[in-house]
Symmetry: C2
Subunit: 240 residues, 2 copies
DNA sequence: AATAGCGATAATTTCGAAAAGATCAAACCA
DNA sequence: TGGTTTGATCTTTTCGAAATTATCGCTATT
């Protein structure tokens, strides 16, 4: 269930924010679902105002949409948004990776290797369907972050992170349909090698292909779930 | 004064959000200033919770920073942030402009010409110190938006807009010191011509120079105001 | 004299009730 | 019958008080 976790956000609203973010990213809260305060109040055990604050911040992150005075809904997934998101991510990731390769030091290299190792081991331990694991997703995110973390631009990193999280919602959808993610771990290794070899052109090209192919997979396997531009309105929160 | 405006945000919190955003961008609320709820409550004539919601959203926009449970302050300006912001803006604006030139239609061209005309006329009417005018700032923003509006990427446009607004705070600081902005209107015309001539390389280069030169101006004229990485804590809200 | 502990004050954060607004359906009129 | 208005119900939005947490000055102790 959603409750029971205690992510140590300093303030209670910050705590709820983080928990809701994870629940949206991992599709516990389904795209397009209406977010009724009563239901959420029970779900996260906080009051109106606290919820409202968390919701507001998620709006600014693009994970929730505010509809005038008609409340909030989980940001819908659409093919148009996925394709747009992909292009913007390619732009940002390429630049961040180029800069990181230019500026990264030994600690940066070590962090990449370390994170890759953890991801690789976890993958072996989890077996075939590793990509369904929430833990693996986390390490996978950390690996991709490690690659660009030395780019030296806080603003670029922040933008990248938000885009990455939004893209994760789409990846999550397709992963339910057993895509050919067997090849992905090879890609990760190849990318790491190009990065450590300080080859910005090759690394950027590989990252771009990595991102675009993932998108193609999503479109192929789960594209029918968000036809047109809007999802068929997801199930209600109460329906959980 | 700050009060008295009525930006037609649908909800009251949305209204306060917009008003605060403008006040921060235009430095009515000074960088680094502590935002005390009592003072803000009088200033915007709303209650705690409503303020809190507006504040929260501004945090996610990067215009306000939340300090644990020690309240909120207006996001400080720093040299490091300005330089970083400049680089990211160059990346985003170049790409957006390239796409807009590729995809823009007749309506797009018309909008650019129209907005430029309004900016130009207002400039003549206002005389030498046009750049101090809040109205001119608004039209100037609309002109730059018009240039990239046809890029076809909602996500890119949203990111661009937030970066543009944050950069405006720095421009505002330097404009108090009469920079050599006489040349800027020539630049705007040159950029427009390159865009309408559908020359993406030239247009992107011009935009990049436009952005970087503005930054250089800011650093030269107002750089001493935010030494190190943090502003000397700005005046308090109550001190207005 | 400097520092740690304590208490009073001032701020933020959270809460649930009350106000404002939207939705839906039944009734009414053309 | 079709379309519009009215009213009842449910949801969101706003409010100000209460609880929580930080801040600052004071005293006592080393």
């Amino acid at each position: 269930m959603t409750d029971g976790r205690k992510l140590s956000g300093e303030t209670r609203a910050g705590d709820v924010l983080q928990r809701m973010r994870l629940d949206i990213i991992s599709c516990v809260l389904k795209p397009g679902a209406k977010l009724r305060f009563e239901a959420l109040k029970d779900m996260y055990a906080v009051s109106f105002s606290t919820l409202r604050e968390a919701l507001s911040r998620l709006v600014a992150e693009g994970l929730v949409v505010a509809e005038g005075q008609r409340g909030f809904i989980v940001a819908p997934l659409s093919l148009a948004d996925l394709l747009d998101l992909t292009d913007v991510r390619v732009l940002v990731e390429r630049e961040a990776l180029r800069l990181a390769i230019e500026k990264g030091d030994d600690r940066w290299e070590a962090e990449i290797i370390g994170t890759y190792h953890r991801m690789d081991r976890l993958q072996n331990r989890l077996g075939h369907e590793y990509y369904l694991s929430e833990d693996w997703s986390k390490v996978h995110g950390e690996f991709h972050y490690a690659l660009v973390s030395a780019c030296g631009s806080p603003n670029l990193l922040e933008i990248r992170q938000k885009l990455f999280e939004r893209a994760h919602r789409y990846r999550r959808m397709s992963s339910q349909f057993r895509p050919k993610w067997r090849e992905k771990d090879v890609e990760h290794r190849t990318i790491m090698e190009a990065v450590l070899a300080r080859d910005p052109k090759r690394a950027s090209d590989l990252i771009e292909r990595h991102i675009r192919e993932t998108t193609e997979n999503v479109v192929e396997h789960a594209g029918h779930l968000f036809s047109g531009g809007l999802t068929k309105s997801g199930a209600d929160v109460a329906a959980e």
